[in-house]
Each structure stands twice: as structure tokens, then as C-alpha cells.
């Protein structure tokens, strides 16, 4: 039986913070029946959609320091016995790490408001025994996050690549 998959784009209407939502729009209509897509604004909204989800893909923008910044993939590890130790670890080339860190800190979002941070939400899921078996975070590079600006061309290009990669992974699942 195929795993129940949720792909959630975390974002807001502000500039490149739309990247997560853009990826969801890009994937829409091209995913399988066992996969659902969601746009969310704050991480704790995941708690509304997480039941019976086996595999969770999260997409969010990060503030890129250089124009050549890449899409970065992290996997949630640890914490099977102790949910408070759940953390994201870089999956791939360390040179691709966001901010030269191989582990995502408690708050990977660059523009925060009104929420428990993503890692805390996942730890809460772990504590409540509602955590999916696998959680992957895709971080899309962005540059501008001001209110009332559009998604930049560079970020859009990154989001398109990210959607393509996720779609491939869903097809291979």
C-alpha cells in the first residue's frame, strides 16, 4: 500500500515567502491519489492535517546570502525515544548548507510571526505520537520578503526546480 503523503508549502503573501505556496500550485494536478497538497501560513497549521500521514514534505523559503544559493534538503532525524531531540539534518553536500550550518535551527523561517517554530511543531507531533515516519524539508532560496512585493524571478525559478524534484520523488515512491 502506498504511503499517505502530504506536501505542505509554508509561506505568506510577502515576496519570496510565497515560494512554498508556489511549489504547491506547481504540483497541483500532477500528484497521485495518495498525496495531498496544502498551503499553510504558520507551522502549527500542520497539526490540522497530519493524521494518517506517513510521509511529509515541507517547502519553505530561506533568506539566501548569495545569488548562487541552492535548494537545500533536510531530513528530520533523531527523537524516536525523546521527541525533544528531533532535529533537521542536512541531506547532501555540506557546502550547500544554509548559512554554513548542517542542521536547521529551531526557526528556519526568515520572517516570523504568530507561530510556534517548525521544529517545535514537529517535536510536539512526536510527543503526541502523531509524527509522520519521514519528514523532509526543502528550503528554497529567496531574497526579498517585504509586504506587497511579488515572487522574484530567481526564487520562482528555484521553486520550479524544487517542485520538479519533489514530483520526481513522489513518482519514485
Amino acid at each position: 500500500m502506498k504511503p499517505a503523503i502530504l506536501v505542505a508549502g509554508i509561506g505568506s503573501p510577502h515576496g519570496d515567502d510565497r515560494a512554498g505556496w508556489f511549489v504547491i500550485d506547481r504540483l497541483g494536478g500532477s500528484v497521485t491519489e495518495s498525496c495531498s497538497l496544502r498551503k499553510i501560513k504558520v507551522p502549527h497549521e500542520l497539526l490540522d492535517y497530519i493524521d494518517q500521514v506517513d510521509v511529509l514534505h515541507l517547502v519553505d523559503a530561506y533568506a539566501a546570502e548569495s545569488s548562487g544559493s541552492r535548494i537545500v534538503r533536510y531530513e528530520l532525524t533523531g527523537g524516536v525515544e525523546s521527541p525533544s531531540e528531533l532535529r533537521f539534518e542536512l541531506a547532501g553536500d555540506p557546502s550547500e548548507a544554509v548559512g554554513n550550518s548542517t542542521a536547521v535551527a529551531a526557526n528556519p523561517r526568515s520572517d516570523t510571526s504568530h507561530h510556534i517554530d517548525l521544529v517545535s511543531v514537529l517535536r510536539l507531533m512526536g510527543q503526541l505520537k502523531r509524527l509522520p515516519r519521514r519528514v523532509t524539508l526543502w528550503a528554497v532560496p529567496g531574497k526579498r520578503f517585504e509586504a506587497d512585493v511579488s515572487l522574484s524571478a530567481a526564487c520562482e525559478a528555484g521553486a520550479i526546480r524544487c517542485a520538479k524534484t519533489i514530483r520526481q520523488e513522489l513518482d519514485d515512491a
Binding site: 505568506s12 502549527h44 497539526l47 490540522d48 510571526s113 510536539l124 503526541l128 506587497d148
Partner: protein
């Protein structure tokens, strides 16, 4: 001679408040010299963004100010604009708007209570620690939150930035079966919210009664959400059009948010669920009203830590009112009133989860927005929070700075402030002389 002693404590964030802020306390011996709460408010450029735009853009733009209470901003904007152009929505629209507000209260209060505030009462560092101790209660709270989100999806078109609210009504009235599908969950939610209220009412609360001027909307016939007169626990009432007569905003050097104060006295005032319940307890829904008598709180209540009980009562009310509307609901047309744009200016206040939001809009005869003023609830509570901190600090000073910081955060969280759009960390700076 006293040696000058300065200590600086950095706390990474004003944790579990929705957004970030900073707090600086200066102490001279045993005397609290200064308390400065810095709030990084959603930039005033949202007001500037709206200028020149069609008035129909207001709900969509203003919903982006706040991730947790988009409905509050949307509703206040459309109410102000509708008054400005002289239109009056149908009773069906009015009812649906109240339902939408109930959804936002259920979600916002649910999040605040279970993920942010309840941990304080058990010395839990986080909701994770709380979930370890009370998994059933946290799961219950999360299910309540989910209901609010589900109802917002039905009414708003989507949960993320609801898009269905517009000047004159809604773009689309929901179908009957969409609404009826929620009834079973909401009946569960009503029972669960009663249990939550009894649970939180039994917490140990610090003894901290203060002499507040509390302000909220008041209405002759209903618990106020979208409409009413401004009312104060000092005994006066006023039309919403008189808001700027009674309150003024002032700039303070330590905060980008303007502080709202009483115009005549420059004094603080208190908005939010505790103010609403104190001023409108008789208008709570029957179950919520009875529960407010049963839970052992002395009303009117002037202990900000017990705001959580007021929030819990409001969730009961929201479920009870929602069930009534859901059960009786009949689809209606038109969902949106036809109107002609005309020049005008008016004001509106609605009750966001955190307290009154005030809007003033001026539009031209082409329906373009000429001027906007938005006063959110957190800026209205900012001075009151500082005043409370000044009052509570003397009892905290014997402890170390880390404990002091934590206790200050707990008091601030009682207000459920909406501190948004900031990447800053909180610094609790304690300067001792």
C-alpha cells in the same frame, strides 16, 4: 558607596508570544526606574499600501497584516468602508460574518491557550513539555483549533488568507451541506470547550488584581463581535465614531508600534477577552453564561493571568453560537449587496481575539481609498502591559535574572499580544544601579 552594578540578560525570544518583542527594565536599588516593552508592529506601510487602491482590495490586503487573525482585519475594514459609502448588509450576511468571527476566536484562542499559555501554569518550557504531561488535554485543544480552521475554510474560501469576504457581503454563500457537515464536530467542540474552561479555571493563579480601565464593545442584544458601542469599566460609553476623541496614539522611542492611550489622561487601558467578559458577561451564550458563574471566578475580574478563563468562556460561546447558526443555515442570494461607490469617511471597531481593532477609512467617489487608519489591539495594550510589569517586578527582584525574565514573559503572555513581522530576538535587559 554603592557600587554600580549592571547586568545584561539576553533572552532569545519572548517565547510563545505570536511574534517577537523586547523588554528592558532599569532598576535602581529596590526601585523600578523604567520598563520598556518594544513591539515591532506590522509596519504602518499597510495603511500606505491601501491608499489609492480600490476599496474592494481592503479585505485582501489587510488580511495579510496578521497570520492569526486575518478575519478581524478583514471584517473591520469592510464594516468601516460600508459605513463610509452608506450601505447596510443583509441579516444573512451579518449572521455569516458573526460565524466567521466565531471561527477565528475558536482557532486563535485555541492556539493561544494550549500551545502558548497553559504551559506557564505548569512550569513547562514549551507545549511539548505540556503534551508530555497532559497529552489528552493538548490533543483536545488541537482538535478545537482544527474546527476553527475548518469553519474558516468553508466560510472564507480557504483557511490561509480567507478570500470570500468583500464589501457588501461575501463573494459566495456556502452551501447548506458544507455547513451541516460541521455540526457533529462542533457539538463535540462545545462539550470539549466546557471541559477546557473547567480545567483552566482550576489553575493556580498569581494574586495580581489591578485597578484597570477595561474597554470593549458593548451591544444591547448580543455578545459583541462585529458591532456595538465602545464601553468602559469606568462607566462611560461612546459611539465608535468617537474613538479618536477618547483615545490617541503616541510615538515612544523604544518601540516602532504606536502606543494607544486615553486621550484625556495619557493613561493606559486594557482590551481583550477579559475586558469583553467583564463588560458583557450577561450577553454570553446561555451555556457560557452559566459556566461563568460556576467556575469560581469573581466577576468583574481584574487579574490578567485569569484572561485565559475569559478566553475559554469565549470559545464556549463561539461554539454555542456557531451551532445555532450552522443548524439554522439556509443559503441565500445575493451573497453580496450591489452598491455604487461614493465619497465618504467612516469608522468601525470589531473585536479581534486580542481586543478591539479600530479602522477609519476615507474613500473617494470612484471608490478609491484616500486614507486609512488601523489601530490594532496589541498597541492598545502596550502601555498597560508595561504598567503591569512595573507592578509585578518588585516581587520578582529577589530571584535571578533568568527567573525574572521568565516571569515577565508569563505576564506578557496573559495578554496574548500580537507582535508580528519581526526577525528580532527579545532581549530582556535588566540594568541594576
Amino acid at each position: 558607596m554603592n557600587r554600580r552594578k549592571t547586568r545584561k540578560i539576553e533572552v532569545k525570544a519572548l517565547t510563545r508570544v505570536e511574534g517577537e518583542g523586547s523588554l528592558k527594565v532599569t532598576i535602581d536599588g529596590d526601585r523600578i526606574e523604567e520598563v520598556q516593552l518594544a513591539i515591532y508592529e506590522p509596519p504602518r506601510f499597510f495603511e500606505a499600501l491601501l491608499r489609492g487602491r480600490p476599496m474592494e482590495d481592503a479585505p485582501d490586503v489587510t488580511s495579510r497584516i496578521c497570520g492569526i487573525c486575518p478575519v478581524a482585519y478583514q471584517m473591520t475594514s469592510v464594516h468601516a468602508i460600508e459605513r463610509a459609502i452608506g450601505i447596510c448588509v443583509s441579516p444573512e450576511v451579518r449572521r455569516l460574518r458573526r460565524l466567521m468571527y466565531c471561527a477565528e476566536w475558536i482557532e486563535s484562542h485555541g492556539v493561544h491557550m494550549h500551545l502558548l499559555h497553559v504551559p506557564d501554569f505548569f512550569d513547562c518550557e514549551s507545549s511539548i513539555a505540556l503534551a508530555k504531561r497532559f497529552p489528552d488535554e493538548v490533543n483536545r485543544g488541537l482538535r478545537l483549533k482544527k474546527h476553527g480552521n475548518q469553519l474558516l475554510e468553508v466560510l472564507g474560501g480557504r483557511a490561509v488568507n480567507p478570500i470570500n469576504v468583500t464589501v457588501g457581503g461575501f463573494y459566495r454563500a456556502p452551501k447548506r451541506d458544507e455547513m451541516h457537515a460541521l455540526i457533529d464536530d462542533f457539538q463535540w467542540g462545545l462539550d470539549a470547550s466546557i471541559a477546557v474552561t473547567r480545567w483552566v479555571a482550576g489553575f493556580d493563579y498569581p494574586d495580581f488584581d489591578q485597578d484597570y480601565e477595561m474597554v470593549a464593545l458593548q451591544h444591547d442584544d448580543e455578545y459583541p463581535l462585529n458591532e456595538g458601542r465602545i464601553a468602559s469599566t469606568r462607566g462611560w460609553t461612546a459611539d465608535v465614531s468617537e474613538f479618536e476623541t477618547h483615545f490617541r496614539e503616541r510615538q515612544v522611542s523604544h518601540s516602532t508600534a504606536l502606543q494607544s492611550v486615553r486621550a484625556a489622561t495619557d493613561s493606559a487601558y486594557f482590551v481583550g477577552p477579559l475586558a469583553r467578559v467583564n463588560l458583557n458577561r450577561e450577553r454570553l451564550s446561555p451555556v457560557a453564561r452559566q459556566l461563568s458563574d460556576d467556575v469560581g471566578i469573581r466577576w468583574p475580574c481584574n487579574n490578567p493571568y485569569q484572561s485565559i478563563v475569559a478566553r475559554a468562556l469565549e470559545v464556549v460561546h463561539a461554539y454555542e453560537e456557531s451551532l445555532e447558526i450552522l443548524r439554522d443555515y439556509q443559503p441565500f442570494e445575493p451573497a453580496r449587496l450591489d452598491y455604487e461607490p461614493r465619497a465618504g469617511e467612516s469608522m468601525a471597531i470589531t473585536e479581534a481575539p486580542r481586543g478591539m481593532i479600530y479602522n477609519r477609512y476615507r474613500v473617494d467617489d470612484a471608490g478609491k481609498i484616500e486614507a486609512v487608519k488601523i489601530v490594532p489591539p496589541t498597541s492598545q495594550n502596550q502601555l498597560q502591559i508595561e504598567s503591569d510589569l512595573r507592578a509585578v517586578l518588585p516581587r520578582l527582584l529577589a530571584g535571578d535574572d533568568q527567573t525574572t525574565a521568565r516571569e515577565c514573559e508569563k505576564l506578557i503572555r496573559s495578554y496574548d499580544p500580537c507582535i508580528s513581522c519581526s526577525t528580532h530576538f527579545l532581549k530582556l535587559e535588566v540594568v541594576r544601579r
